[in-house]
């Protein structure tokens, strides 16, 4: 167990900056997830903590020790990899005990520890199987056993569930949380899947283009995103964004306006802002009471319905004939989620309201958040 500190960590390759001046402190025993789109630098950041990549600049501390130029084997860390990376030429026992044998523990202690680790991940009786004889989930458990058997100070997990099928992934997710509770070790977890990040972590570090966008508990990232990137990345389906301008009477855009007093919201008339509202904070007119502070009513047309079982995604258009793109939501489009029994059919005209308490305003230029919920 130990805290981990990144101090101005930068990793530059010949033409790209993979990690840009990263500062981060992870507390002892904390479960922190690095999340971001692929290529954002989250894996590189983890590799610098592991010692597999030496940062161009900056320092890395584990406990109180500067490990920036220490080889991986001397950092007291262990790691679980995306492609599982079991040694194919060794059986389960040899895989799990590899690190202990390298460190010349005596046989008795090795056996004891391997047994304990196998116990934790429920691998009893599989000690002499070869990796190729095991299922994906079993291999993943071996990889985790290999990582916990050494009692590492810090656990690194690089997309450990990415190669598992959906059902197994959900199951392993709860397993990992239980593991964290039992071991009480610092865990750093990398994923591009924000659902994993939301469900497991104490805090999420959202990373984009090598830069740290926000480090906060999952719900904080969800409810009070620091900027447009975090707002768009966290949450599925994504938050709706409406680009517009502040006038003396509030927010105005091509298809939508929202009256408020600019002064109380900390914005100035003439400022370009982006309004954000999550799909679940949009309501059909008849259910307007469910919103904390319902807004005015907007007239919309139902474009497409996507029933998900427990909820229905309704794609709305501000008026008929708006061009829609397959890739992203454009101007005049809005996504809402409603109860499965809600009355909505494709092609219908519908009136909707949004929850003023759940409206986010972002500065369009700096992309930083201005306010969460209208006052």
């Amino acid at each position: 167990m130990a805290r981990v500190k990144l101090e101005n960590v930068t990793k530059q390759y010949e033409d790209v900056t993979a990690v840009d001046d990263m500062n981060l402190e992870i507390k002892d025993g904390e479960f922190v997830t690095f999340v971001g789109p692929s290529g954002c630098g989250k894996s590189t950041t983890m590799e610098t903590i592991a010692g597999l990549t030496i940062p161009t600049d900056g320092g890395i501390y584990i406990g109180n020790e500067n490990v920036t130029r220490k080889p991986p084997k001397d950092r007291g860390i262990s790691m679980v990899f995306q492609n599982i990376a079991l040694f194919p030429h060794m059986d389960v026992y040899d895989n799990i005990s590899f690190g202990l044998r390298l460190r010349k523990y005596d046989q008795e202690e090795i056996d004891q520890r391997v047994e304990n680790a196998a116990d934790v991940v429920q691998l009893e009786g599989m000690m002499d199987r070869m990796p190729e004889e095991m299922s994906g989930g079993q291999r993943q458990r071996v990889a985790i056993a290999r990582a916990i058997v050494r009692n590492p100070r810090v656990f690194l997990m690089d997309e450990p569930l990415a190669n598992l099928d959906a059902e197994l992934r959900v199951h392993m997710r709860t397993q990992l949380q239980r593991l964290h509770r039992e071991l009480d070790t610092t865990i750093i977890y990398v994923t591009h899947d924000q659902a994993q990040a939301m469900t497991m972590s104490d805090r999420i570090a959202v990373i984009n283009s090598g830069e740290l966008m926000q480090v906060d508990p999952p719900l904080t990232c969800y409810n009070e995103p620091n900027n447009l990137f975090v707002a768009g990345f966290i949450g599925s389906p994504s938050m709706n964004f409406v680009e517009g301008q502040i006038t003396n009477s509030g927010f105005e855009s091509e298809y939508m306006d929202l009256p408020f007093d600019p002064e109380t919201q900390g914005v100035e008339p003439g400022q370009d802002v982006t309004l954000g509202i999550r799909p679940e904070d949009v309501y059909l007119e008849p259910t307007r009471n469910q919103a904390g502070t319902p807004s005015k009513t907007y007239d919309m047309v139902v474009d497409v319905l996507e029933p998900m079982g427990d909820e229905v995604f309704v794609f709305l258009l501000a008026e008929r004939g708006i061009e829609t793109s397959a890739d992203e939501m454009g101007a005049g489009q809005l996504l809402m989620s409603v109860e499965p029994d809600a009355d909505a059919q494709a092609g219908q005209d519908k009136q909707i309201v949004i929850d003023r308490d759940r409206v986010h305003l972002f500065d369009s230029e700096t992309e930083q958040a201005i306010t969460h919920g209208l006052k």
Partner: protein, 336 residues
């Protein structure tokens, strides 16, 4: 339970310290450090001698001094070799221009010119080795009982030391012991003493080489054949392709890159033929390029000329390699 960092006192040993330092150097530095053993070995045994030989090739011969090198001679040795005027029992290249068709004439017989005899040997041997090797590879690629032993039998000539290979064929064509000369004379191919005739000796060396090296080709082509995805054949069968069509449209195109690589290696080897010639017919009968180097070294102590021949050989091989690389680029999946 203790955490594991407290337990690695072992890594503090003296040997580990430089290795630990290597852990954190950049990839660039690390690469160069690991290349040191190869660089030392190749440097002393290959690059240094080659540069030395290059320098020797630019000197004159001085056959009577203990260190038989004379004054700096520029490209004189090369010029002599290419003009057929080298002071050697056989010439590297000896052609002149003539007024009538085919406008070139041989200063000495074709098979007594090192460049031609070596090229002829390389082309003919590689051609036959490829064809036979392909046939052999096709056979041992099939599934049948006893395939393991057929495979061993077909590959084994490749493992034969040159000196033994040479001796087998030397004895076979030895007029008193062997039976092959009688046979060849009976069908009118050979003269009285084949091991003393350029043409017959060339043939013997060729047969000996094809016998042994087809196995090597078979090995490399077999590797190519085995990398063909078997399900392609099922697809072909479903669409009604005959075995010949399967070969033509599936096997051959897929094996082609491997085949060209195998031929490249073989050509490079064939262009450097020496041991087999030396131990069968002798360098007088079949003066290959490497033979010429040895004759100049040992026979007449013309070390400078020998060095020049060695470099000319490398240049010719380099040119052939370029031809192959162009061919490989043309065929799909070629060497990068």
């Amino acid at each position: 339970m203790s955490t594991d960092t407290q337990n690695d006192g072992d890594s503090g040993r003296l040997v580990m310290r430089p290795l630990n330092r290597l852990e954190t150097v950049s990839e660039q530095v690390y690469a160069y450090v690991l290349l040191i053993p190869a660089a030392v070995l190749l440097g002393f045994i290959a690059f240094y001698p080659l540069l030395n030989t290059l320098w020797f090739s630019l000197l004159g011969d001085d056959v009577f001094s203990p260190d038989p090198f004379g004054e700096f001679n520029g490209f004189g040795n090369y010029a002599d070799l290419l003009a057929g005027e080298a002071q050697l029992p056989q010439q590297f290249l000896d052609v002149g221009l003539s007024g009538s068709f085919p406008f070139v004439e041989m200063g000495t017989p074709f098979l007594q010119q090192a460049l031609f005899v070596t090229l002829a040997f390389a082309i003919i041997s590689v051609l036959f080795e490829t064809l036979i090797g392909f046939g052999q590879a096709y056979v041992i690629d099939q599934d049948f009982r006893g395939r393991r032993w057929v495979r061993v039998a077909i590959i084994i000539p490749y493992a034969l030391p040159i000196v033994i290979q040479a001796m087998i064929f030397y004895l076979m064509f030895n007029p008193t012991i062997g039976w092959a000369t009688d046979l060849m004379q009976a069908i009118g191919v050979f003269g009285d003493n084949p091991l003393a005739s350029s043409r017959d000796s060339f043939f013997i060396v060729l047969v000996a080489d094809i016998w042994k090296t087809s196995a090597f080709m078979a090995l490399l082509i077999l590797a190519g054949l085995q990398s063909v995805d078997r399900s392609l054949y099922d697809v072909a069968k479903v669409s009604g392709a005959s075995p010949w069509q399967q070969f033509k449209y599936i096997t051959f195109p897929i094996v082609l890159p491997a085949l060209l690589v195998a031929m490249l290696f073989r050509t490079m080897d064939a262009m450097r033929i020496y041991g087999l010639v030396d131990a069968t017919a002798g360098c007088e009968q079949v003066p290959s390029m490497t033979c010429l180097v040895i004759t100049a070294l040992q026979g007449s102590r013309r070390w400078a000329t020998a060095s020049a021949v060695a470099f000319l050989t490398a240049i010719v091989i380099g040119l052939l390699v370029i031809v192959y690389l162009i061919g490989l680029r043309g065929s799909e999946g070629g060497v990068a």
